[in-house]
Amino acid sequence: MKMALLHVSSLNVGYNSLNVLTDVSLEVEAKTQVVLLGANGSGKTTLLKSLIGLLPVRSGHILLDGQDIVRWDPSRRVRAGLAYLSETGVIASLSVEDNLNIGGYYLPRGLRRQQMHSLYQQLPMLYEKRKNAASSLSGGQRKILAFAKVLMGQPRLILMDEPSAGLAPVMVNEMVQILNTYRSHGPAFLIAEQNIKFLVGAKYVYILDNGQIRFQGTPEDLDADAHIKAAYFGLA
């Protein structure tokens, strides 16, 4: 059997006596988009943070290319090809260009320049504002910068924490469009969301509820499952 790019098995994560994630298992194959749906407090952010190494796990395994990275620190995971787009996403006090630069921290100088150049061409707004502090950008522009920042490092898997959070509906559509352009370019995406717009183009869906995976399947499976749809999205 071909090994998935990311293979998470029986992950348990908690703070003190509280268990936040219970026995979570999931897979992301290379170059695909996987969506992790769940309400606020369902454990989505906790899951992504433990995947990138910001939170320690109690038990379970995180395999990247078959290699167990569960004890690695975040910088080593990033060097191995993971990237995490947090809800903050940018460092507000740094300029737009420096945010991109730290996103590509581990690239050799020449490649970093080249990557920045091509991102500037695709997202001209960033080029215009490259000298401005990230704090001067609007919420939507910050999200775009945050996305460009993770792309800078040429990761193989991008963990996205609620890309739609705090965005106006128009900007959400723009985010979805930007995602669609990049999906064909190589990186795989694991997107934690509440907004079902991100299901467009997704290969697989997991629903996280109260720290446990309650559903997994293709978007079509989800669409066909009236019970799940009613329970989680209030759709009849």
């Binding site: 910088s75 060097r79 947090s86 730290i102």
Partner: protein, 291 residues
């Protein structure tokens, strides 16, 4: 008289800005106030004095030696102390106690090694000539010290703004959690900044006997206070702020010494009070820090 105090204030200000730089870098990256900062300055002073008296080594050479030696000392202190501190419940409070203790230990060790008498460097150590400017003359040792300080401030600036490592440092200063989430080597960056902060303190210490007259093992506390005042005036965590803070302090000190000399020791405290009342985020601060 005014021109003299202004120009010497600028020379002193640049030196004091350099003296405070290490404190500011360490605070910016680790959000810990190194209360032993002044003691590392004094240790640097003893390196310069001992090297000159015992081996006839010029302070210009001792500067390099102090930089290298205290970089290593900084790394040696960082790894056993700081990571453990950051994992504790209240790192900021505990760091005050820890560095206060370190300061007391260093003071005691210096008393054992060097005795309690003040020691100094001859003002002629960089030559006997003086610098004539606008009809006044200034000690050449002041001018050389200010120039070296300026050079080191510029090098720090270039490091922070034009190297990948410096960008990582500013990222950690801006948002430690997001820097970690980006995958930057936060711990290594902290270690290097801690070591640089201590090395810069010791380097400024080599020059300190020339600027403040003499040092003794208890000088550290006063120097920490001055450095802290300068950093708060400029704005905590902003490395450029210490230069501005240094100039404000240096010029105020010199004006005070010229026109109201018996009050001049109050200068750092007065400036600290004024800035905390009027602009608590410091002159370059963009709003009160969020912790």
């Amino acid at each position: 008289m005014f021109a003299y105090s202004l120009i010497s204030g600028i020379l002193f200000g640049i030196f004091f800005g350099f003296m405070a730089l290490g404190l500011n870098l360490i605070f910016g990256v680790m959000e810990m106030v190194n209360l032993a900062h002044g003691d590392f300055v004094v240790l640097g002073g003893y390196v310069g004095i001992t090297a000159l008296n015992s081996w006839h080594i010029n302070p210009l050479v001792s500067l390099i030696f102090a930089l290298l030696l205290f970089f290593v000392v900084g790394l040696g202190l960082f790894f056993p102390l700081v990571p453990r501190l950051s994992h504790s419940r209240d790192p900021e409070m505990l760091s005050l106690i820890l560095f206060f203790g370190l300061s007391q230990v260093l003071e005691a060790l210096m008393e054992i090694k060097f005795g309690v008498n003040p020691e100094s460097l001859p003002l002629s150590v960089f030559g006997n000539s003086s610098w004539h400017f606008l009809g006044q003359s200034y000690q050449i040792s002041w001018v050389v010290s200010a120039l070296i300080s300026l050079l080191m401030i510029l090098l720090t600036y270039v490091f922070l703004y034009y190297t990948p490592m410096g960008r990582a440092v500013r990222a950690v200063m801006g948002n430690r959690e997001e820097a970690r989430a980006t995958g930057l080597p936060v711990k290594r960056t902290s270690a290097i900044i801690f070591a640089i902060g201590i090395a810069l303190a010791a380097m400024s210490g080599v020059l300190s006997p020339l600027m403040i007259g003499s040092i003794d093992p208890t000088s550290g506390l006063g120097l920490t206070t001055i450095a802290f005042a300068i950093v708060v005036i400029g704005s905590l965590g902003n490395p450029l702020g210490s230069v501005l803070g240094g100039l404000v302090y240096g010029i105020s000190l010199m004006l005070m010494q010229t026109y109201l000399s018996s009050w001049s020791v109050l200068v750092p405290y007065l400036l600290l009070l004024i800035i905390v009342l009027v602009r608590p985020s410091g002159l370059l601060g963009k709003g009160v820090r969020h912790v």
